[in-house]
Subunit: 209 residues, 2 copies
Amino acid sequence: MDKHILTVSREFGSGGRSIGRAVAEQLHIPYYDKEVIRQVAQKTGFDEQFVAENGEYAPGKTTLSYIFKALGRPEALGRADAMDGLSTTDFLWVIQHQVIANLADHGPCVIVGCCSDFILKDRDDCLHTFIHASQQYRAQRILRLYGEGEKSPQQRLADKDGRRRANYKYFTGRDWGRCQNYHLSLDSGTLGEARCAELLASLLTAPGR
Amino acid sequence: MDKHILTVSREFGSGGRSIGRAVAEQLHIPYYDKEVIRQVAQKTGFDEQFVAENGEYAPGKTTLSYIFKALGRPEALGRADAMDGLSTTDFLWVIQHQVIANLADHGPCVIVGCCSDFILKDRDDCLHTFIHASQQYRAQRILRLYGEGEKSPQQRLADKDGRRRANYKYFTGRDWGRCQNYHLSLDSGTLGEARCAELLASLLTAPGR
């Protein structure tokens, strides 16, 4: 079946977001990344930063963060309770699921992150991809884009990917970065970001193509 | 750097060999698969079937097989002993390493299996790939190609992939089918074998291109 929707999972610093955005621009289709966070925040009452962090941590590690942040948003906690007593984490996951499924229902698009490959796994019109690169390539890229930080680039990569891996495992039961989860995986450092975008765009059927 | 050599690792029944062969034909470059086995057998004195089986099993599972098969080839065991007392398994690995490195030294080619992605990982001119597909696709494909067997297609897939996974882990220390081991992974069932071959050929620089 033709593929209209691209999901992009990615290692931190691999350029997965830039590649996803380039594909969306080439095909003139919507690109969703922070939009998912924005809509989840809007529907749940939690603030965007909290929703974004929830999407990067496995629940076991965020108990304190949840308590402190949620204290300022009693109405959000109320909404979670109202959904058959779901925990905040599961409540956010249910809404994230709804938001992503709804975006996909609206037609061709690119969705980056948010376990969108798993959430849309039963749709035949999605191309699920994973972008990765060597540690050296990613370290140089994040230094160039985000500058020096308190931690070394290597530590920042390990921290961020470790969180993504744990979060993905918790919500999907699958191993992050396993070829079999995706239709295609690409090493952006070796192939080049422009080539990756071109290749992915060539595999999608967009309006007017 | 330009990529002249393609290595193809693959799930059983995914069509990885057919795809590799198609790429070699499109680019008019040599295709190596059983040739690696043949050369290892020739250099070691073991028979081809034994070498092929050694390449599919992790050593722990093949002790009996080794003993029975090697009994008929004392000169091969002698050669292994002569190499600083290497075990038969390690001796075959050393020779496999030499054979694959030597094939790569001779210029552009396609090499399927034999941990060639790992063996050639430090060369800049190789494109390392992994081909996989859904269990349903692969089960139908092996039934079509190889017919019914004593075991169910699902069991045959699980057995063969389990052996490849264990063997790869033993010799390389890496997890088989992890995106980060390869420059590119493709779901042949979803993308189609012809499309996969075309895509891989487009990423290689062959003589005269």
